[in-house]
Amino acid sequence: MMKTLIDDKPNLMNIFVLETKTETLRLFRTPGFSIPTLLFPIMFYIFFGIVFSMNAVTMPTYLMITYAVFGIIGPALFSFGVGIAIERGQGWFDLKEVSPMPASAYIVSRVTLTFIFAAAIVILLFAIGAIFGDVRLMHWQWVSLALIFVVGSLPFCAIGMTLGLYLKASSAPATVNLIYLPMGFLSGLWLPISFLPEVMQQFANLLPPYHLSQLALKITDMDLGFPVALHVSVLAAYSLIFIFLAVKAYHKKDKK
């Protein structure tokens, strides 16, 4: 490690790894972040999906998938949204900006971090689903779901980044929660979408978590039957719009 650090040319890969490592360490040492994001989806899943399940056969599988979506959105919104807002407030953001570390490292490390948290949530949910919810899926289904969840956190990283650049440090946690929780419920992540009134089902079409959950539910044949292309394009559109907004915010705004 040390050797590579004093090389003449900085090794980009090493910077990414180091930044990710330290960020991960920091987050795990911030129980205020790691505990709620890991525990909320799992607690809800155990509660609605297993203990008070309305249908012992299909519900544990269905809700394992939707709570996994709910779960992976959390770290994306919080690590980016709240994280950046707070660092801006503390001046950390400016310090990192003037440091020789490339800006890409900042983003890459946070995306990796989100992936790690997403994977942790997915592994926990899968284990609980398989052990306590009797969820049985083919190996290709388990793996595809995990991939969809991890990659599917990207649009929410973009949303989180935009929020983090716009929001004030003090109001960020509350605002992100105000977006995260209702959006999860309205997208049919807490209860199957078909349980919601029709107007709400129509409204869910506008929300990215709904589209990610429909993509994942396709793997187990539990989706509403809309085309893959529709879901993918809505998610891609959200990603592009929010990346654009984030870039705009970064360049325009007083980052304090």
Binding site: V17, N55, V57, T58, R136, H139, F195, L224, G225
Partner: protein
């Protein structure tokens, strides 16, 4: 660093390898064993048994069957095995029997359809390899008075105006394949009479004739007084519970004395009373996937508000409980596909409503299984005992505890073969938005419209009817310029399909499966005039995937004028 990465990769691979796969993805057909399952055989409940199926038939039911290696075994722990349901009141046409089996209804008792549809399916029901659709029994055409209930569908059915026609009517029905006779009756003394009815003496003659041919006769009534008269005359069963008054002692005693049954059809009565079960059914659990677009439309459809006082529905429910407590046989029937109901799924709603009326869950299950065969000659359908063809449903749950568990269908078998439930695609085709413009000036061929694909003949022959139509492009005599043609439509509406039609269709999409996006259009405009016998024009707008029009607009047609039909979504 590399070691750590390796550990992580090994952990991930191990984790995903350890995740459990479904124990058995085997198909259970013709010969298999279901172990530790709760069984309801149509008459009796067994809490935990093993059931073996050999040669498509129930071979053995016992507390524990010896271990078997030759046939696949299915673990039935926590599940309930029921006979395939029987819906004792439907109107079957189009895809009715496919829709029925998709929700575990393996037999339908039709109460009025065209003989052509019935006959084709009556042949099929005798074939053991008929495992993709439900079995059909049918009354074919019902017995009603000129202008009576049943004639309002706008086509010509034989009607009865005097008692001496009854014997011939019954013979004709039996020759056309009727399994039983259905009559529509309203007593002269009845307060409510919105349709003309056959007389007391015609009903008497019909019952006598049906019984001479060993056929049951069931009577559609909408009030208690008519039901009393029908049962007193010897009718075998009553269709519909009573919205006018709760049954009295006299009626209960009459039903017992005559050993008559009732098919209350609370599902359709709730819908008539604007309390349809349809929307809840669509939302319930995972039903949505198994409903076609047309079925969803049917479930959301509403009856016009007849202005019947809202207390009436309670009378219908109370009547069912009183009759059931007096041991009058109750048979479950949905009256699908009336507005608010659909084939298959609505029978599950009927079971729920019967328990709401006060029947036990077991009584409700009996009404849709074992009870039906005790009255109608349907063989051993609705029962599961040794030697019976295995038409059955495996339920994820316990309908004896919660009746709506019948909707949690795990597997369906018809004649010993597993029926794979049909999942309906909800994908909306993305079509280009149509821009406003001239469709055609009728100077080219009909398949050369400027927009859309074709203007073509359209009759109920598409659905098995016999109506005819002829389209011709004719020179306009009134016009001074040559080459100014118009579309001349001539045709005849004939009996053969329940909703007969004759006319032409204009296809705006590429084909029947793909619709067109009309969102940029507001209306379709044309000039038209009817001939001497046609004074009304109807324009119906359809969506792909459904035969039910999304809008119907009618207009006078007697003089040449401009018609404008709105196509924008309401």
């Amino acid at each position: 660093m590399k070691d750590k990465l390796l550990v992580i990769v090994i952990f991930l691979v191990a984790f995903f390898m350890l995740l459990p796969e479904p124990a058995n993805t085997e198909i259970y057909d013709r010969a298999f064993i279901i172990r530790n399952v709760q069984l309801y055989d149509g008459n009796q409940r067994f809490e935990k048994v093993d059931v073996s199926i050999i040669n498509n038939k129930i071979a053995e039911i016992s507390a524990t069957l010896p271990a078997q290696t030759k046939v696949p075994e299915l673990n039935g722990t926590g599940k309930t095995l029921l006979p395939g349901f029987i819906d004792a009141h439907t109107h079957a046409y189009q895809n009715a029997l496919n829709e029925a089996i998709n929700f575990g209804v393996t037999t339908e008792m039709d109460m009025f359809t065209m003989p052509e549809f019935a006959n084709a399916h009556q042949t099929k029901r005798e074939q053991q390899d008929n495992h993709l659709i439900a079995d059909l029994f049918s009354a074919t055409i019902l017995a009603t008075a000129p202008g009576g209930h049943g004639t309002q569908y706008g086509f010509d059915i034989p009607v009865l105006s005097s008692a001496d026609q009854a014997a011939q009517f019954v013979t004709d029905r039996i020759e056309q394949g009727a399994d039983y006779i259905k009559a529509v009756y309203n007593a002269e003394k009845a307060v409510r009479s919105h349709f003309p009815s056959i007389s007391h003496s015609i009903l008497e003659a019909l019952i006598k004739s049906a019984h001479e041919h060993d056929k049951l006769l069931v009577v559609h009534v909408d009030n208690l007084i008519s039901a009393k008269e029908a049962i007193a005359l010897g009718a075998d069963g009553i269709i519909h519970s009573f919205l006018d008054q709760v049954v009295d002692d006299e009626f209960v005693k009459l039903m017992i004395a005559k050993k008559a049954f009732i098919i209350p059809t609370l599902t359709v009565e709730s819908s008539v009373m604007q309390q349809s079960t349809g929307r809840t059914l669509i939302q319930n659990d995972f039903n949505f996937r198994y409903l076609s677009k047309q079925q969803r439309q049917q479930l959301k459809a509403k009856f016009p508000d007849f202005g019947i006082p809202s207390k009436a529905l309670k009378k219908a429910f109370d009547s069912v409980l009183i009759l059931s407590n007096a041991n009058v046989p109750i048979l479950a029937g949905s009256d699908a596909p009336n507005p608010g109901t659909t084939h298959g799924l609505s029978l599950h709603a009927e079971l729920e409503l019967l328990t709401q009326a006060g029947l036990t869950n077991e009584q409700a299950l009996h009404s849709a299984t074992g009870a039906v065969g005790q009255h109608f000659a349907i063989g051993n359908r609705g029962t599961l005992s040794t030697g019976v063809l295995a038409s059955m449903i495996l339920i994820n749950g316990d309908p004896f505890e919660i009746i709506s568990h019948t909707q949690k269908i795990d597997r369906i078998w018809k004649n010993g073969v597993e029926f794979k439930r049909v999942v309906h695609d909800n994908a909306a085709a993305s079509n280009e938005k149509l821009k406003a413009g001239l469709i055609t000036d009728f100077n080219q061929n009909l398949n050369e419209t400027a927009m859309g694909t074709v203007l073509a003949e359209s009759t109920d022959q598409f659905a098995g009817g016999k109506s005819v139509v002829n389209l011709a492009l004719i020179e306009d005599n009134y016009s001074t310029t040559s080459g100014n043609k118009y579309l001349h439509v001539s045709g005849e509406i004939k009996t053969g399909f329940i909703f007969p039609w004759s006319g032409f269709a204009y296809l705006l999409g590429k084909d029947l499966q793909n619709g067109a996006d009309l969102s940029a259009l507001s209306a379709i405009t044309f000039r038209a005039k009817g001939g001497p016998q046609t004074n009304k024009i109807s324009v119906l707008l359809f969506e792909p995937g459904s035969y039910i029009p999304i809008t119907i607009q009618n207009a006078g047609f007697d003089s040449f004028k401009k018609h404008i039909y709105c196509v924008a979504e309401s």
